[in-house]
């Protein structure tokens, strides 16, 4: 056969290898169709519906729903919650990741496991923990009543519950990265005369900044969107302890469809912005 004597064309070889990895056309197209159909049905359709319902009575009704006092109060409370919890959890997350990846101590693996606890416990349970602790019947309930401090059914409770729920995001992003990087660069900086603080800002932070931003972004999205835990501790007091997700539910239960979906559209918008930023950050990380 003359095929044997012909030199092998490398381009052809590659093409053949790719072919070998590919399933028949109908399998490919079916799988792609299923994936796209699924995403449209369960993600795009509801999202479109939210927008559609929000504007179902016109732009004016949409704006008037958003400019209600209760809605504005809910937006403000959500922003306040995020503004308090995200910076705190950023600091906590960096500290925890630093401790876990840079020091050896007893109980390190326990700490690593505990960081994941908010992920593995149902948010409702997380909320109940705080009710058990600070509620009127709770461990510190009596003491709090005596000192006239309100935590449950008040803003501090909402912030505490959100803090608990969003704790893992930053640490989870940083720990694998910092483990993989090792501490050689930091040791090098120290040996060159840098202080611990200088080393942290000039060497550690630049190396982890994209992962850190990514963690902060996810943490923020969850802080603004958390429903379960916050629902338990909030008490649903209109204009006082309703965050945006709770406000959506309250409006919906009152048959205020435009109000509910107008508020929901803000959350949906937040989700889309988060997704875009997340993709941009992933792209950035991938390019480093």
């Amino acid at each position: 056969m003359n095929a044997v004597t012909q030199p092998i064309n490398p381009a052809k070889l590659v093409a053949r290898q790719q072919l070998a990895l590919q399933d028949p056309d109908w399998v490919r197209w079916t799988l792609i169709a299923i994936a796209i159909g699924f995403i449209s049905l369960f993600i795009c359709l509801p999202l479109g519906l939210v927008i559609f319902q929000a504007f179902s009575k016109g732009v004016a009704a949409y704006w008037s729903a958003l400019s209600q006092d209760d809605t504005i109060a809910a937006i403000n409370l959500t922003l306040l919650t995020a503004l308090v919890t995200v910076p705190l959890n950023t600091v906590f997350g960096v500290t925890a990741a630093w401790a876990i990846t840079r020091f050896d101590f007893k109980g390190k693996s326990l700490l690593t496991t505990l960081i994941d606890l908010p992920f593995s416990v149902s948010p409702v349970i997380s909320g109940f923990i705080f009710v058990l602790l600070f509620g009127a019947e709770g461990w510190f309930g009596e003491w709090l009543i005596v000192h006239d401090i309100k935590i449950i059914f008040a803003v501090p409770g909402i912030i505490l519950a959100t803090l608990f729920i969003t704790f893992p995001f930053v640490a989870r992003q940083l720990i694998p990265l910092m483990q993989e990087m090792g501490n050689q660069e930091e040791e090098a900086a120290l040996s060159l005369g840098a202080s611990g603080w200088q080393t942290f800002w000039a060497v550690t932070i630049p190396n982890i900044k994209w992962a850190l931003l990514y963690g902060v972004l996810l943490c923020n999205a969850r802080a603004m969107g958390e429903f379960g835990a916050v629902s338990v501790v909030s008490g649903h007091i209109r204009g006082l302890t309703n965050t945006l997700p709770l406000h959506v539910e309250v409006n919906y239960n009152d048959y205020d469809v435009v109000g509910a979906f107008a508020s929901a559209s803000i959350l949906a918008g937040l989700a889309i912005v988060t997704l875009i930023l997340k993709t941009a950050l992933e792209w950035k990380q991938g390019n480093r």
């Binding site: 090098a188 040996s191 060159l192 005369g193 840098a194 000039a202 630049p206 190396n207």
Partner: protein
């Protein structure tokens, strides 16, 4: 400046990584810390730098006790085995780092920093790379940048952990020579870690042989090669043939011209180049047979098999210059006479 280690011990759990180390490095010397993998070289270097704390013992630099001083205050240049360059900084910024983090009153102006960094980059012959990032450099280039970075702070002592460990053989050879010349130029007291005995012998003025966390011998390269203190050093520092009188090598050694000594020991270590070879005339009684040979550049290594019923099966290696081997006109399977010029005896 001189380095003095007195009675340094370090345990990891129950494992003794360093065991009562005493070492003195005189000012301006380039010392090689040589030993097999896991013997504690890196640990010792890290203790000198202050990156690790000894359980016991003191570290003195220029007669000043530095044992309890922080890494960042010791004024030591450390070159890491895997370079540890700052990956998000350019080559220039990497080298400038040590100057930029100085306290404000000691910090040079930007102009002086730039001048100094370029001078250092010229010293390591890489100024043209100053705006690259570490991941755009070759291994050898990274190594030299790491060295320039360590030198920027004018360290009193330079510590290099397997500086050429991750490089391929030909780059290693170039850099060895280069490091030696650089040391001549700068004269900063340096310790460099290696597990390659050839590298240690070639670069260093003093060699310290470490094994299982203990110092086996310290001396000049020729000292250590010609007068190994014990069997470990003798084996580690170059190829050697081992003959054991208890294993019936005595007669064979006598034939080869090496009489057992009175009290020096029972085990003879013979370097391959201390075995002289001649084509045997007495066909039957010849002490060895030539099995094979290999070219090692200018030298030929001959693989011999001991003759006689009592010999063990281990091959004997001899080395001689290429042309001498040609003159002997030997073939595989030829019987040879041999004469052992000298041996080191150990118990």
């Amino acid at each position: 400046m001189s380095i003095l280690l007195s009675d340094i011990s370090k345990n990891f759990g129950t494992f003794a990584a360093l065991d009562h180390i005493n070492l003195e490095v005189p000012e301006g010397e380039l010392v090689a810390l040589l030993g097999p993998s896991g013997c504690g070289k890196t640990t010792l270097l890290r203790i000198i730098a202050g990156l690790e704390h000894a359980d016991k013992g003191r570290v003195l630099i220029n007669e000043e006790d530095k044992t309890d001083q922080n890494v960042s205050q010791r004024g030591i240049g450390f070159v890491f085995q895997h370079y540890a360059l700052f990956r998000h900084m350019t080559v220039f910024e990497n080298v400038a780092f040590g100057l930029r983090v100085k306290p404000r009153r000691d910090r040079p102006s930007n102009d002086i920093i730039a001048k100094k960094v370029h001078a250092l980059l010229e010293l390591v012959q890489l100024d043209w790379l100053n705006d690259r990032y570490p991941d755009q450099l070759s291994g050898g280039q990274r190594q030299r940048i790491a060295l320039a970075r360590a030198l920027a702070v004018e360290p009193s002592v330079l510590l290099l952990d397997e500086p050429f460990g991750a490089l391929d053989a030909s780059v290693r050879k170039d850099l060895r020579q280069w490091l030696r010349n650089l040391h001549h130029e700068l004269n900063v007291t340096s310790i460099f870690v290696t597990h390659d005995q050839e590298e240690a012998m070639e670069v260093a003025s003093q060699v310290v042989v470490l094994n299982h966390g203990r110092i086996e011998q310290q001396g000049s390269p020729s000292d250590i090669y010609d007068h190994p203190a014990n069997a470990f050093v003798s084996r580690f520092i170059g190829q050697t043939n081992v003959f054991d009188l208890d294993k019936h090598d005595a007669d064979w050694l006598q034939t080869a011209g090496l009489l057992p000594p009175h009290s020096d020991g029972k085990i003879a270590h013979v370097r391959p180049h201390d075995i002289l070879i001649e084509k045997s005339t007495a066909d039957q009684a010849a002490p060895a047979t030539l099995k094979d040979w290999q070219h090692l550049g200018a030298l030929i290594r001959l693989e011999l098999v001991k003759n006689g019923s009592n010999g063990s099966a281990a091959p004997v290696f001899a080395e001689m210059p290429n042309d001498q081997f040609k003159q002997l006109n030997l073939n595989r399977g030829d019987k040879v006479d041999l004469k052992i010029r000298q041996a080191h005896w150990f118990h």
